[in-house]
């Protein structure tokens, strides 16, 4: 299922195909029947590259999840571990290998496929455990940029933000640069590179260096992308903290979308067949894939949730009308035509039913008092109201022991919207959090401080109002139904990151030099020479294509905002989005929290 990848301006099927080819090559290196032992985290991303059928064709007969203990007794010649290069996983593999029955015949061969990179550290670790020699093939599968949709690529590297900003480990940036080189190999050299932030600068430097060191990368492909914009997540810490209000954004906030799949409570999806009076309600969560392959979803995913209901009801009318047509069909030809439309109509109907159910689920939450209160506080902060004192609602939430992540999101939002909190306010929040949730969270608070999300105001200066006004981050007259500005994705707040992209396209960053200086990290422009003959001669009215790469994660609402800009009639730019990870405020904060339980193994 990959047709949706080719529906956009840039055909991303080519990238997926490159990934599949590499996978097949590896599988064929291990001749004979095989079983794959999966690091569970990887099955999601791999599912976007290949289906089981592909593995099966290459003699993969069994698949297991990686866990300690003895491996299941599969009668295969090869056991292949598909793992991320993490030490705790190496320990599990070691355990698996050591417990393998040496007496069994025929013996099984072991191999490791590291994703996305082979790790010398892990191999050293395996060597120390005395099992390194058991592996015949140790290879890497550089799953750098995975196509998620026709205009969306992600590295699905969970720890990228944490590694860059807490641990100063720039490995994920190296992978990003490598991914961009692969992309350029397939889609041509990108002539213009813009960037903002330290990580952006690093990635651009690495790209330039790689290009210099790999003379072969001078390619002769006609460039598809006109511009690359590299954006550091820490240039805009605000946006992910706010609650996304687009349809897709809310699905992610509430249920969590993983590798384009979402799991939903089953009650609303119970099959309504006659004579089954409520018996056998499904207990397994309902799993749905969400991408632009589904026509209806493509239409509503990026809308403000308040505009989704009317679309759904309009669709319902159209579908009912279409089904009514059957009464008018008189001639054999007409009946035949009707029948031929049936599959499409039925698919449309089931799609409509699904999204009506999801919308109902979401509505239950968005109409709750607490959702409203939470949103009110967020919007106050973002529009600059009362950001410098202890907030009552936050205090109440702590008192009622709401989930810690929710508290941290709000406190961080307040801190970011005030360029840091007054020391007294910060100390107050800290004390309340530690007393209510446990002192050990001092480690998490420290991480947030290091990442700049939660900090004392230094120099007593609050830059946020200036940034907000200059970049028009807060729009009072937002139109949720027929938006005329990107601020509709947060019902008033225009994501800073996307505003930067918008202003870069028109009128250019020179107009906002002052504000750019207030945001962290350098901003820059680089040009990559194209061989003569490959320079583009733009047709009248032809849109430019810009690849926006979010280093440290991007939210669905930001993606929606960029898609909105792509679709603007006089926009002149179409955007393709790449990121290290698809995030929302909750998953993002979670990635920065100290793991409080020791690893189970």
């Amino acid at each position: 299922m990959a047709a949706h990848l080719s529906s956009g301006r840039v055909n991303l099927t080519a990238l997926r195909e490159a990934g599949r080819r590499e996978l097949r090559e590896f599988l064929d290196k291990c001749a004979g029947s095989k079983a794959i032992v999966w690091d569970e985290y990887l099955t999601g991303p791999f599912g976007l590259i290949a289906q089981y059928s592909l593995l099966k064709e290459h003699e993969v007969e069994k698949m297991f999840t990686l866990k300690p203990g003895r491996l299941p007794p599969a009668d295969v010649k090869n056991i292949i571990f598909f793992v991320r290069p993490k030490l705790e996983l190496m320990d599990i593999i070691t355990d698996n290998v050591l417990r393998e029955d040496r007496g069994r015949s025929p013996q099984r061969d072991f191999h490791i496929l590291f994703v996305p990179r082979r790790s010398l550290l892990c191999e050293q670790w395996l060597k120390e455990q005395g099992v390194l020699g058991s592996f015949i093939h140790r290879e890497q599968y550089s799953l750098d940029l995975i196509p998620f949709d026709g205009d969306l690529l992600s590295m699905e590297s969970e720890g990228a933000f944490k590694e860059c900003y807490l641990e100063s480990d720039q490995t994920s940036l190296y992978h990003a640069a490598k991914g961009l080189m692969t992309l350029q190999a397939l889609y041509g050299t990108i002539p213009q590179i813009f960037g903002k932030g330290d990580c952006a600068r690093h990635v651009a430097n690495m790209m330039i260096r790689m290009k210099r060191e790999f003379p072969g990368s001078q390619n002769s492909i006609f460039p598809v992308f006109d511009t690359l914009l590299l954006l550091d997540r820490n240039v805009d810490l605000l946006t992910p903290l706010a609650t996304q209000l687009t349809y897709e954004g809310l699905i992610d906030e509430i249920y969590g979308i993983q590798n384009t799949y979402v799991k939903l409570p089953p009650e609303k999806f119970a099959p309504k067949k006659q004579g089954e009076g409520g018996k056998d309600l499904p207990t397994e969560p309902k799993k749905l894939q969400l991408n632009s392959a589904e026509e209806l979803y493509a239409e509503i995913r990026d809308k403000n949730f308040n505009a989704v209901g009317s679309v759904l009801s309009k669709k319902a009318k159209i579908i009912s009308a279409a089904f009514e047509e059957r009464h008018h069909a008189k001639t054999v030809g007409e009946i035949k035509q009707f029948v031929s439309q049936l599959p499409h109509m039925q698919a449309a109907r089931s799609s409509l039913a699904n999204h009506t159910s999801i919308a109902e689920l979401i509505k239950d939450i968005t109409t709750s008092e607490d959702f409203f209160d939470n949103l009110t506080v967020e919007q106050e902060f973002m529009s600059g109201i009362d950001t410098d004192k202890v907030n009552n609602y936050i205090e109440d939430c702590i008192a009622q022991k709401h989930p810690l992540i929710k508290i941290l999101r709000l406190v961080c939002l307040q801190s970011v919207c005030n360029s840091g909190l007054k020391q007294k306010v910060l100390d107050h929040y800290k004390r309340e959090i530690l007393q209510t949730y446990g002192y050990e969270h001092i480690l998490t608070l420290n991480n947030l401080e290091k990442a700049g999300l939660l900090k004392p105001q230094t120099g007593g200066r609050n830059n946020y109002p200036t940034i907000r006004k200059t970049l028009r981050l807060w729009m009072d007259d937002v139109n949720e139904q027929n938006p005329n500005d990107i601020s509709y994705v947060y019902s008033g707040y225009a994501p800073l990151s996307v505003r930067l992209a918008q202003l870069l396209a028109r009128p250019g960053w020179r107009s906002i030099e002052e504000v750019l200086k207030m945001l962290p990290g350098p901003h820059f422009e680089e040009r990559q020479q194209l061989p003569t003959g490959l320079q583009k001669k733009r047709q009248q009215g032809e849109n430019r294509v810009t690849l926006v790469f979010f280093l440290g994660g991007v939210t669905y609402a930001e993606i929606a905002a960029l898609r909105f800009l792509s679709q603007m009639e006089d926009g002149g730019t179409e955007y393709i989005i790449a990121t290290t990870k698809l995030i929302n405020g909750t998953t993002w904060i979670k990635s920065l929290m100290e793991k409080l339980e020791p690893a189970p193994f």
Binding site: M1, A3, S7, T13, R21, E22, D28, T43, G47, Q51, Y52, S53, E57, M63, F64, P72, P85, R118, L120, L121, E167, S168, D169, Q170, T171, Y174, A177, T182, L186, Y187, G188, M206, E213, F214, G216, S217, N219, V224, Y261, K287, L288, Q289, E294, E295, G333, Q337, P343, H344, A399, D427, K430, Q435, T436, Y437, Y439, I442, L443, N446, E597, P598
Partner: protein
Amino acid sequence: MSRVRADEEEYWHSSKFRAFTFDDEDDELSQLKESKRAVNSLRDIVDDDDDDLERVSWSGEPVGSISWSIKETASGSTSSLDGRDSSLQKGSSSYAALPKQASSYSLSSLFKGRNKLSSFQSLSDALTDTGVKNYAPELRRPKAEYKDYSSDWSPKDTVRRMQRGKVCSLERFRSLQDKLVLLDEAVAGHDGNVITAVLIFLKRTLRREILFRELEVRQVALCHLIHFLRETGEQKFLLDLLRFLDRTEEVALSQYREHLNIQDVEKRREFLKGCIGLPFSAEDTSHIQDHYTLLERQIIIEANDRHLEMAGQSELFRKYPRKASILNMPLVTTLFYSCFYHYTEAEGMFSSPTNLKKTFKIPDKQYVLTALAARAKLRAWGDVDALLTTKNWLGYTKKKAPIGFHRVVEILQRNNAPVQVLQEYVRLVEDVETRLNLATKYKCHDVVIETYRDLKDRVQLTAYKSKVERGSVEEEKIQSILSNVQIRWKN
């Protein structure tokens, strides 16, 4: 195993929208379908037809050989490979020729909208065309790598080889100078994997003081080493390093983090005691001190209460058996526990709520909130009343709630307080609108009636009459107020 299999099945085959692919060929008549076809013109060819695509792509070619053979010839070492048919090597054409091949093919046809060929079949053709095929590996296989296959790599080449996942011996780098050049090269490459590998080598071969000194001026490498030590749990080495760097706060936090790995509470308490003296920031120091004190208290309380519970003599513990031990719970949870089981104890007892309040300087608001929740859960309405009653210096009593009476009502309601109790506090809610809302919601008729009377709102009061039970005391009350001629109604 069947479960595993079921999961796989679900996972790999859970594309729900197969119905959208329109892959049956016959119904050319359908307009709808045609328009669909137009939109999804690529779909029929590319989508989900793994089998076809594969067969087209790989027919006549040994599967998996192309990129592989290039890789191997490019690196100049074929001997290291096992079990490969030499015929697979046919792709090993001269490397220099590749760009030419690539340019001979119209690569723009890869992209929709630029497709010069009319059929999308060309997409899969394009993908398997040698130009593209050979191109991708080229990225990873620069000329530099294969032209001088020897063991005498420069630091730069060594780093580059390692970046490509090749294992290199670093032992050749003997002098400090060489090692540092190697490290700097690794850092310049930004690949954490390689940086860490070099660091492991340096850590093994350099004296600590020298390693520390050199890392002090190499911040990126330093961060990687710290991260590495944390991952591998080399706590002692890490602390030495941080101390050398004078990063005292980090030393403190890093040491404190260790307590999470100690399961035994006595040992954990001892460990935390040792943390108190560490150089935290002033604010953090008091938190760490509190953490220690809290665990110390919890251990005492736990021992006592477990004994009480086992003895079975305390009615409270019999009636409400403890769900979990209090060890390692947060402070507020501990306070709740103590308000639940030890409310009446004298301040001198470690387990008494007032003692906890004093020791940890718990703010009034927090204390009232927690005590209220605990006493309401026990339905001890008398305690609730006492908690919210204050005496002024003249001896008059007054109800006061630092958290606001609307919150009091919420908490009581959540614990199913009877209307008589609830009503008393609803009456005290200051904001009239909130009061009316709460009173209506929780059916505190008296409060609603009195409030409308005080507002002189005859219309609302009359309307409310229909909401109370017919013939009830409330109805009577409304009737008598409505017929009171002394009230000057506003409407």
